[in-house]
């Protein structure tokens, strides 16, 4: 176990370091500075702002300064939201996006696994084709389309659910979670179906049947755990993608999450904020991949952590 964490940590460090370095220089090579505005800002003002944010130093100096601050856990001030630190903004946005992602992944799992299971139990029948077609519709229905559609139907026509906000009025978390989760539900459905079909052909399913178990017991007790292996492998990258991709949903539903910051920071050339969110994302990717492996081991007693590396 410890060896596993150590080796992962050892791999993670260069990954995160390269991400930091590459991002640092990439964003500075993009045209337009953080202080360019519609009404032209005078050169004097720009110079003073650059001075304030250490942007007048040679770029390698800026880089080392940034690193030395980073090592002390200081992500710096946001260049756009002048009285905010990046840490504070991430602290405000991340829990919300995280919560949204958790709900979304839960919905994706519920819908995806049930659809995939239904389909796998009777392959090549209507019970297979209908959920799988729906899953495919989910894949081709991007959130920028599904979100407004759901809002139109449930928020405006039926008036069942609020169309915006997060924790402001009851039920306002439902539509965003469904919107964000649906694409993943579709992928999970396909993965579950594939995994279940493979497991259902295993000998131990026959053993279970020979014991006199009913179909539902066989599926839930014996097949599901093995059948979900591909889903588990998918979950790590999916949650990371979910967090990064929540921008669209957060914009549609007016949710104060990190996704909006992540994208807006790029447009605003809010260098420190881009760095902060990117570092966070790379840590998340590393962490979630590790979690995904841990989960796989937990689900499958045959795997051990150390043997994987």
């Amino acid at each position: 176990m410890i060896r596993f964490f150590l080796s992962r940590l050892l791999q993670a460090m260069p990954v995160i370091f390269i991400v930091i370095t590459a991002t640092f220089f990439l964003i500075r090579s993009a045209p337009g500075g953080p202080f360019d505005a519609d009404k032209v800002v005078s050169q004097e003002v720009i110079e003073r702002l650059n001075e304030r944010y250490n942007l007048d130093a040679p770029i390698h100096q800026q880089y080392f300064d940034y690193l030395s601050h980073l090592i002390r856990g200081d992500f710096g001030p946001s260049f756009r939201y002048t009285n905010r630190s990046v840490t504070e903004m991430i602290g405000a946005g991340l829990p919300i996006t995280f919560e949204l992602a958790i709900y979304a992944i839960m919905i994706a799992l519920i819908i995806g696994i049930s659809a995939g299971m239904l389909a796998a139990v009777r392959p090549n029948t209507a019970q297979d084709y209908i959920p799988m077609s729906l899953a495919m519709t989910g894949i081709c229905m991007p959130s920028f389309l599904l979100g407004p559609l759901l809002v139109l139907v449930f928020g405006i026509w039926l008036q069942w659910l609020p169309v915006s906000g997060w924790g402001y009025s009851p039920g306002d978390k439902i539509l965003p979670a469904i919107t964000l989760g649906s694409t993943y539900a579709a992928y999970i459905a396909r993965l579950t179906r594939g995994g279940m079909l493979e497991v259902l052909n295993q000998d131990y399913i026959r053993t279970a049947k020979a014991k006199g178990l009913s179909t539902s017991k066989i599926i839930f007790k014996h097949a599901l755990r093995g059948g979900l292996a591909p889903v588990v492998a998918f979950l790590g990258p999916a949650i990371a993608g979910l967090l990064a991709g929540s921008f669209v949903v957060e914009t549609i539903f007016q949710i104060p999450g990190l996704g909006r910051f992540y994208v807006q920071a790029a447009f605003n050339r809010d260098y420190t904020m881009i760095m902060g969110t990117t570092i966070l994302l790379s840590c998340l990717i590393v962490f979630l991949n590790m979690l995904s492996d841990l989960l796989a081991v937990w689900l499958n007693p045959r795997l051990t952590l150390d043997a994987k590396h």
């Binding site: 993009a30 045209p31 337009g32 500075g33 360019d36 505005a37 519609d38 009404k39 032209v40 800002v41 005078s42 004097e44 003002v45 003073r48 702002l49 304030r52 001030p77 939201y81 002048t82 009285n83 905010r84 903004m89 405000a92 946005g93 839960m106 919905i107 799992l109 519920i110 696994i113 809002v151 928020g155 405006i156 008036q159 069942w160 659910l161 609020p162 169309v163 915006s164 906000g165 997060w166 402001y168 009025s169 009851p170 039920g171 439902i174 839930f220 599901l224 755990r225 979900l228 914009t251 549609i252 539903f253 007016q254 104060p256 999450g257 909006r260 910051f261 807006q264 447009f267 050339r269």
Partner: protein
């Protein structure tokens, strides 16, 4: 196993779906006098001296008050912190008397010294206020701001006593009073600033809820990042009896479509924008919920006059005259915008441009292009039309692209750019034709026309005309309004004859506004002092 978790989750979701939504914001708002406003983007900060945008302006105008405010209906200056003022005969000396009962929200009185202190802060080089130029009409302010003058006592602002403030100007500036209604000239509470940092330090925590001390009709109650800013009625405000609203909630909403949906489901009383495609249906179905008001802004295209073939005035005029502006405002923008053939919006504080050298005239346009050496567009190079990424700009560009194709047989390539890339390209004159817009800072033609002086920061077309420069300079020192406007008309004629820009339309302010919202007067600056705004059920009022 997952199935043990899934069931409760499913059930709770069903429960949530089944529950009643309860009354919407606006249904419960009237009794409590709580206003819900869409407010564009998240404010960068709430420091009147460092911010620049409209969303910031809206919140700051609730939290602070200047020497002067403007009457929402007429935009005429009216007393605010200053109870009265005297202007010297040469128009260069203003003496303000501050009202006795003007207080900070912690109860401290607002003094003339606060203003002197604040202006020193605002003009200090280290603060790097982007709006410092607003005060450059004040004597020595520019020198101080540029660091050429260290001694602030030489700047033309003095506190004679705690309630008398004297301001000396470089030139008689007829619009100076309206500048004082702008938040960049507001006073801030010196002890608060100093409690959280230096006087000229930006980005300190003084603007946070609990810290911020203002002198406006409202105080900052809570600030949830990217979500809601809530302000509450300020009991220390000198005119608190006029204020009827108890709270205002400002929602930063990036998407106009989201904002419209929030408005439609009763979350907001008013929006900060309106999706183009919704205008028609509101006008037909809910005319009482949409308001279209004139606005002090012009939508135009910049032409890079340093580049062939746009260095030829005939080409520029041909391009300008072959745009069917009426079709664009009728079919694309649809918000009652006025086709523009001059740069300054009509009736800018009584100013009207009188140019008619630009009009929609295809035959003339073709003739001009032909004279420039491109008969029927032959030999005309493909030029690029740059605009910042936005659906509305794209729609207009697509229409104009096609108009030029049909009228002049020239090919224009559209190129949208990320906002910051767009800005840096325009500044570097790295474009041929670029979409632009200008919203006046104050109701005076000067805010439009001084843009195009040689090497003006916002000129950005490469166009330079010494006669124009002289006209704008002479207007600055002219105290008589009629003569001034004449000079501006001359300048504007010159500008349009040369056509370094193609005006397309004069903006209107199209917003969705609930009929309950009262005291919200339309004006060309889109300023709505919240002290006059209140909520009232239109049914009681017999509004239908």
């Amino acid at each position: 196993m997952p199935n043990k978790i899934l069931l409760p989750v499913l059930l709770s979701i069903l429960l949530l779906v089944g529950c009643d939504l309860g009354p919407s914001n606006i249904e419960s708002a009237t009794a409590k006098q709580i206003l819900h406003l869409g407010n564009g983007t998240e404010p960068k900060d709430l420091d009147p001296h460092t911010v620049t945008g409209v969303p910031e302006h809206n919140i700051i105008s609730a939290l602070f008050e200047g020497l002067i405010s403007v009457d929402p209906a007429t935009l005429a200056p009216q007393p605010a912190v200053a109870e009265s003022w005297v202007i010297s005969n040469d128009g260069k000396r203003y003496t303000f008397t501050l009202r006795d009962n003007s207080n900070w929200s912690n109860g401290d009185p607002v003094t003339a010294d606060d203003f002197v202190w604040s202006w020193q802060r605002m003009l200090s080089p280290a603060l790097a206020s982007e709006y410092a130029y607003q005060l450059f009409t004040v004597k020595n302010a520019q020198a101080f701001n540029h660091g050429e003058l260290k001694d602030f006592s030489q700047v033309g602002v003095k506190a004679i006593n705690s309630k008398t403030l004297v301001i000396e100007l470089e030139n008689p500036t007829p619009y100076f009073l309206s500048l004082l209604a702008h938040y960049s000239t507001f006073a801030v509470h010196p002890p608060t600033i100093l409690a959280f940092g230096e006087r000229d330090q930006a980005g300190t925590l003084w603007t946070r809820p609990g810290n911020l001390v203002g002198n406006g009709p409202f105080t900052l109650d809570s600030w949830r990042l990217n979500y809601i800013i809530r302000v509450k009625k300020n009991p220390h405000y000198w005119d608190h009896e006029t204020v009827r609203l108890n709270e205002i909630l400002f929602y930063p909403i990036d998407s106009a479509l989201t904002e419209e949906r929030m408005f439609r489901t009763g979350v907001l009383h008013a929006t900060s924008s309106t999706p183009l495609d919704k205008i028609a249906s509101y006008q037909t179905n809910d005319p009482d919920k949409i308001s279209i008001d004139p606005y002090l802004g012009t939508y135009y295209y910049r032409l890079n006059v340093t580049e062939k073939p746009l260095d030829d005035v005939r080409v520029r005029r041909a391009l300008s005259m072959s745009i069917d502006r009426q079709a664009i405002t009728d079919s694309i923008t649809k918000g009652g915008q006025i086709p523009a053939f001059t740069f300054t919006p009509p009736n800018t504080q009584g100013y009207f441009a009188n140019n008619n050298s630009i009009r929609y005239d295809l035959a003339l346009a073709q003739q001009l292009l032909s004279e420039a050496g491109f008969p029927n567009g032959e030999g005309f190079p493909e030029i690029e039309l740059t605009y910042n990424t936005s659906d509305g700009h794209r729609r207009i560009a697509v229409a104009i692209q096609q108009m030029w194709k049909l009228a002049l047989n020239i090919n224009v390539r559209l190129s949208n750019q990320d906002w910051k890339v767009y800005l840096s390209r325009i500044q570097a004159l790295d474009y041929s034709i670029a979409r632009a817009a200008w919203i006046g800072d104050y109701p005076d033609p000067n805010t439009f026309l001084d843009m195009f002086v040689t090497d003006g920061g916002n000129n950005q077309t490469g166009w330079s005309n010494s006669q124009y420069d002289e006209l704008i300079a002479s207007a600055a020192s002219e105290a008589d309004e009629k003569k001034r406007y004449k000079i501006f008309q001359q300048a504007e004629n010159l500008l349009m004859d040369e056509s370094p820009i193609i005006p397309i339309y004069t903006y209107t302010r199209v917003l969705l506004k609930h009929p309950q919202l009262k005291g919200w007067e339309p004006n060309i600056l889109d300023i709505h002092p919240y002290k006059y705004v209140y909520l009232e059920d239109s049914t009681i009022n017999g509004g239908q």
